[in-house]
Symmetry: C2
DNA sequence: CAAATATAATTTGACTATCAAAATAAATAG
DNA sequence: CTATTTATTTTGATAGTCAAATTATATTTG
């Protein structure tokens, strides 16, 4: 098998595994009532300030109808709060609750841990090559499809 | 910025977009009636020979019920053929049609482009080192997050 | 200003992807 | 020959998604 085929195979497997790992870690952790996509909504809302529905939907690349139902569920589960803006009453602002902030942090920690663990397997020359390859892929995607 | 932060940032961005990009690349191409998961089914069936439903479902890590409906749709769209095995009439064999084979090849090309981009500027000893690095990470993840 | 238009969000209706469990059909074991 | 196992499909349920219709509010324009 050529190097290219090997790289392709292992990249495909790694990416599939990481998604799988993320889902499974979520399911056994403190926030097991959250799906991956709900966690992504929490991640996109972020810790800092209130965000509008439309901005958040745009970031997540989903329609606002989709986000509305996602947020409905996250409010039921007490991860998110929603209020109408006073300045422009068409606008709805959302933000994380305390529980939402904890979920956000926990997910952030998971990511850090994953990356640290992965890089511990490598020496410094391997680390640089990995960064180079990942950067290349990132550039490829950005060229191939403009966001 | 530290290597860790760099890798984390790139990974998060890649993951946020990879499925999306792959789907969009699909949607603008010759096979715009295929979703990403349908393409994965086609990929798993492969070009070489007939496969059974159960083997394919196992590879894809979905239940056979899920695969049945996916294959139903792919047959409607003329990407896949299905027949009962004569040796064991419980078994169903599936294979790609000509159209399915073309879709497979097109998807393969997309992955080849991706790998070529990823490996840009790397000489063959660096390629080998990267393969070693990726393999380490893959093995490590399978150990650490074995459930 | 009042009517027309634009914008932000939600609701509705539909579809895909998925699973677990029940049902069906065929092969194998006792 | 009956009981059990195996391969698949069907059924019933849920999550995530979109496009289009609807609602409410804001902005533009004649």
């Amino acid at each position: 098998m050529s190097n290219h085929e090997t790289v392709n195979e292992i990249l495909v497997r790694l990416f599939a595994n990481i998604l799988d790992i993320e889902e499974k870690c979520l399911r056994v952790g403190d926030f097991s009532d959250l799906s991956i996509s709900e966690m992504h909504v929490i991640d996109s809302i972020g810790m800092n300030q209130e965000r509008t529905m439309s901005d958040t939907a745009k970031d997540l690349k989903v329609t606002s109808g989709t986000l509305t139902t996602a947020v409905d569920n996250l409010i039921k589960k007490d991860y998110v709060e929603r209020r109408r803006s006073i300045e422009d009453r068409r606008v709805v602002k959302i933000k994380l609750t305390e529980k939402g902030i904890n979920a956000f942090k926990s997910h952030e920690d998971f990511h850090k841990d994953l990356v640290i663990s992965a890089l511990q397997q490598l020496d410094s020359s391997e680390e640089l090559l990995l960064i180079k390859a990942l950067t290349n892929i990132d550039v490829f995607f950005n060229k191939k499809y403009k966001f």
